[in-house]
């Protein structure tokens, strides 16, 4: 209690210096917290975009399909799919059929990636379809309606309503061609997608492939990514009885590009945070050491009067601790305010970069929002406290080694 009071008064001796240091520590903490929350929000958003355009938070395949992408590895949608859709936390189950194909117009032909999907189910979720006008999506799908990537449509000279031919090789090695209508143009902004994607009704595509009513993938979209931990085992459970031995795969495995991009990005965030915290530590050491060096006589006097070196050390460390507590509280307040702002208003990068950003093969908007990560904020705050305490260790030792005979001589 006494040393708390003494420490507090000592910090107030150089009010300006203490305030500047505390402000520096607080702002650094706020920066690290806010930056983390912002990137957490961005990653969550990227995962969300990624999983909706890609294979869902959890995807179901036949064994080996992910490795080979062999069109023969299809399976028939089964009643289990509906079971999966009823697992709490599952928002949608989207069956898809993938087939390499050739598209021909009167002008050109191109290799394409033909995706058979349940378009009405995808409509509200798939970011590729999101930009299409409502009337295009709401009109009931006809069997031979297709959505075509913008670049591909341009190259083939296709417009809304144009007809074109899609040719595929069926399971027996025969070529099968069918006529399709261009119903809508997909502008994803991702070059690969825009120049090669054609999305049509799944039953139609799988029938062309001679697979009947089949699917390669069940993309399971969750209400939010954090539910994967509970949904994943439930999905597995329901797949146990499937005759094809279907496997559930997390998005991290199904979309390694996105996963790795996020992981590497997160490493850089951590590294930056580490540097900020290291600089903070140096600042605190500097302030405390300066204040200790100015007070060597006082420490000499204290020791002369019979205080133990441990007590002197404790005093200096209490000063560090107090600075840590104040910085922790102030910094967390600032960090929370900044996060709250970024959660609600978001951070608009659009003036600086093109409207859409590509990251790990996923496209997302440049208006980005933060996401609360309170346990982590508390962890960094606690870390700041430890840093301040750690930073006071050496100054404390210096103070406790004051030599009374030396410091009290020549005054």
């Amino acid at each position: 209690m006494e040393s708390l009071k003494l420490a507090w008064r000592n910090l107030f001796r150089h009010r300006m210096r203490t305030c500047i240091t505390v402000l520096g520590v607080s702002l650094s903490l706020a920066l690290v917290q806010t930056y983390h929350n912002f990137t957490a929000g961005v990653y969550a958003y990227m995962v969300d975009c990624g999983v909706k355009a890609g294979s869902g938070h959890i995807a179901v395949y036949r064994p080996q399909y992910l490795a080979d992408r062999n069109p023969d590895l299809a399976f028939a949608p089964a009643p289990e799919d509906e079971d999966i859709a009823r697992i709490p936390g599952v928002r949608a189950v989207l069956p898809r059929f993938y087939l390499p194909a050739l598209a021909q117009s009167s002008r050109e032909n191109r290799n394409i990636q033909l995706v058979g999907a349940d378009v009405p189910r995808e409509a509200g979720l798939n970011p590729y379809l999101r930009k299409l006008p409502r009337e295009v999506l709401e009109r009931p799908m006809r069997k031979r309606d297709a959505f075509v990537g913008a670049g591909l449509a341009r190259e083939l000279g296709l417009q809304q309503g144009s007809r074109f031919v899609i040719t595929v090789q069926n399971g027996h090695g025969e070529l099968v061609s069918e006529l399709f209508h261009l119903r809508g143009i997909i502008e994803s902004g991702i070059r690969d997608v825009d120049t090669s994607l054609v999305m049509a009704m799944r039953e139609q595509v799988s029938a062309m492939a001679g697979a009947g009513n089949a699917t390669h993938e069940l993309a399971i979209i969750l209400d939010n990514a954090d539910m994967a931990a509970s949904v994943f085992p439930a999905v597995r459970q329901r797949l146990l009885s499937s005759p094809e031995g279907l496997e559930a795969v997390s998005w991290e495995q199904a979309m390694p590009n996105l996963y790795n991009a996020i992981r590497w990005d997160y490493v850089s965030v951590k590294f930056l945070s580490f540097i900020v915290l290291a600089i903070v530590t140096i600042g605190v050491v500097n302030t405390l050491l300066m204040s200790v060096m100015e007070r060597m006589r006082e420490f000499g006097l204290t020791l002369a009067l019979g205080a133990s070196p441990g007590r002197v050390r404790l005093l200096v460390m209490t000063e560090g601790l107090l600075m840590g507590v104040v910085s922790m509280l102030a910094g967390s307040c600032i960090g929370s305010l900044a996060t709250a702002y970024l959660v609600h208003a978001g951070f608009d990068l659009r003036p600086f970069i093109p409207e859409n950003l590509e990251f790990g093969g996923v496209l997302f908007s440049a208006l980005l929002y933060a996401k609360w990560d309170i346990p982590w904020m508390m962890e960094v705050a606690a870390y700041i406290l430890l840093l301040c305490l750690g930073a006071s260790l050496y100054p404390g030792i210096r103070a406790s080694r004051a030599m009374p005979v030396e410091t009290l001589r020549h005054i």
């Binding site: 006082e298 006097l301 002369a304 019979g306």
Partner: protein
């Protein structure tokens, strides 16, 4: 009863790579209740002797016992305990901790000794009154005159009722009125409470007041008026 006993004490300091002999074979005995002044010119070794007696430093050779503690043999820890419990110190200046009030400074040693706050307050309040310092308890050292600061230092030194009080040039920074007052105060405490005082000075006015004067020169005792107690 002999309180302080120095036998053939020498103290050498290393100054650069040169050895300086501050005390050269000093024998000194002081009994409980004495009021001794160490006199002598600057550099004669007064501070060195007081530092040794107070357990702030150890002799280079010789043996010594102070208040039952053989301080030449003691460890750092033992010396710290010895200082805390046996000795009251008054230094020439910079005696007080600036962020503490006069009363808190005066209580500082008691606090280190772990005396409960109410007892500390009571004892220090009484001493403030006894030494004519009422009303100054809550001032910070910066708001006290030099003489008042030294009185606070005296209160701190005697509050724990140590076996002896050491004062190194405690009056050197004071005007003659304040020095006389301070000295009278020490005399008064010596007479009423029987506290042993050993202090150093080269002020003739101060030396005149002492019952026993030990004069040093170049680290040797050149005269000792002897114990008149």
């Amino acid at each position: 009863m002999t309180l302080i006993e120095l036998n053939n004490i020498t103290k050498r300091y290393m100054s650069g790579n040169q050895s300086v002999t501050a005390i050269a074979g000093l024998d000194l005995a002081v009994r409980t209740g004495e009021f001794v002044v160490l006199a002598g010119p600057s550099g004669s070794g007064k501070t060195s002797v007081l530092n040794l007696i107070g357990g702030l430093d150890r002799p280079s050779s010789g043996t010594m016992t102070v208040a039952g503690c053989q301080t030449d043999m003691a460890t750092d820890r033992e010396l710290a305990d010895f200082r805390l419990n046996m000795v009251g110190f008054i230094f020439q200046s910079y005696n007080l901790i600036p962020v503490l009030t006069a009363a808190e400074n005066a209580e500082f040693v008691l606090q280190l000794q772990g005396i409960p706050a109410p007892i500390r307050h009571a004892r220090v309040t009484e001493l403030f009154a006894e030494l004519g310092m009422e009303g100054l308890q809550n001032r910070r050292p910066g708001d006290l005159s030099g003489g008042q600061q030294q009185r606070v230092a005296i209160i701190r030194a005697i509050a724990s009722e140590p076996a002896l009080v050491l004062a190194d040039e405690a009056t050197a920074n004071l005007d003659s009125k304040s020095s006389t007052d301070l000295l009278e105060m020490m005399r008064y405490l010596n007479e009423t409470k029987g506290t042993t005082f050993v202090f150093s000075s080269h002020d003739p006015l101060v030396i005149e007041q002492a019952r026993r004067v030990v004069t040093l020169h170049d680290g040797r005792m050149v005269s000792d008026t002897g114990s008149r107690a």
